[in-house]
């Protein structure tokens, strides 16, 4: 079975600073990878996805992620965060037709 690890449960960062949210998964078989964002009391919104092709994926709100097959990682990055980026971020991995979510990382942007 697949497992998804988001090592950092909470990440505080100052406004306009860069941020990286880490995601590692266990199985190296063919996978699809996703990042979602959840604002308070809302559902999850798809930020970006990797299905195939270029390993650097750009998403909405200035976020990007890089698929690293050898390290089984899919870290999310943003060069300069804004207050409005404060939210919960979930990494998800699909193996076969099974969806696996990480436990989430709470990003807090400090003014």
């Amino acid at each position: 079975a697949q497992s998804v690890t988001q090592l950092d449960s909470q990440v505080p960062v100052f406004e306009e600073a860069p941020v990286e949210l880490r995601c590692n998964y266990s199985s190296s078989v063919s996978v699809y990878l996703f990042w979602y964002v959840q604002y308070p009391n809302q559902g999850l919104q798809l930020l970006l996805k990797y299905l195939s092709g270029s390993t650097l994926v750009k998403g909405i709100n200035g976020f990007e992620a890089e698929f690293n097959k050898s390290q089984t990682s899919f870290h999310l990055r943003k060069p300069s965060v804004h207050i409005s980026d404060t939210a919960e971020y979930f990494c998800a991995v699909v193996t076969g037709n099974q969806f696996y979510f990480g436990t989430g990382t709470s990003l807090t942007v400090i003014p």
């Binding site: 699809y32 996703f34 979602y36 009391n41 809302q42 559902g43 999850l44 919104q45 798809l46 996805k49 979930f90 998800a92 699909v94 076969g96 037709n97 099974q98 969806f99 979510f101 990480g102 436990t103 989430g104």
Partner: protein
């Protein structure tokens, strides 16, 4: 474009009362449908998923049940709610099992 609707947005119920949460999808046909629960400050727990009308798979044994009476309608039910059923319930759909899931706005359920 496709949209997903969940209602109600918030619900307060006494212990032992029944539950019915509804989710509908528009703009697509034969979607995969999912119910998740999110406890406070925690990740997502998959409760049920469905690949077609009348086809329900349960991931976690509990006092909840799900039904899919129509292609784009997914209902989460309980005959008697427990305190532990409190949480944020999310419905989602995808075109296929390996495609992105798209989420509704969720229902905040509080059990008193």
């Amino acid at each position: 474009s496709q949209t997903i609707h969940q209602w109600p947005a918030t619900l307060v119920q006494p212990v032992g009362s029944p539950l019915s949460l509804e989710c509908t999808v528009e703009g697509t046909s034969n979607p995969n449908l999912y119910w998740y629960r999110q406890a406070a400050g925690r990740g997502l727990q998959l409760l049920f998923y469905s690949v077609g009308i009348g086809q329900i798979s349960s991931e976690v044994p509990q006092n909840l049940s799900a039904s899919r009476p129509q292609d784009r309608q997914f209902i989460l039910s309980s005959k008697k709610l427990l305190l532990s059923d409190s949480g944020f319930y999310l419905c989602a759909w995808s075109k296929q099992g390996n495609q992105p899931q798209h989420f509704g706005d969720g229902t905040r359920l509080s059990i008193l």
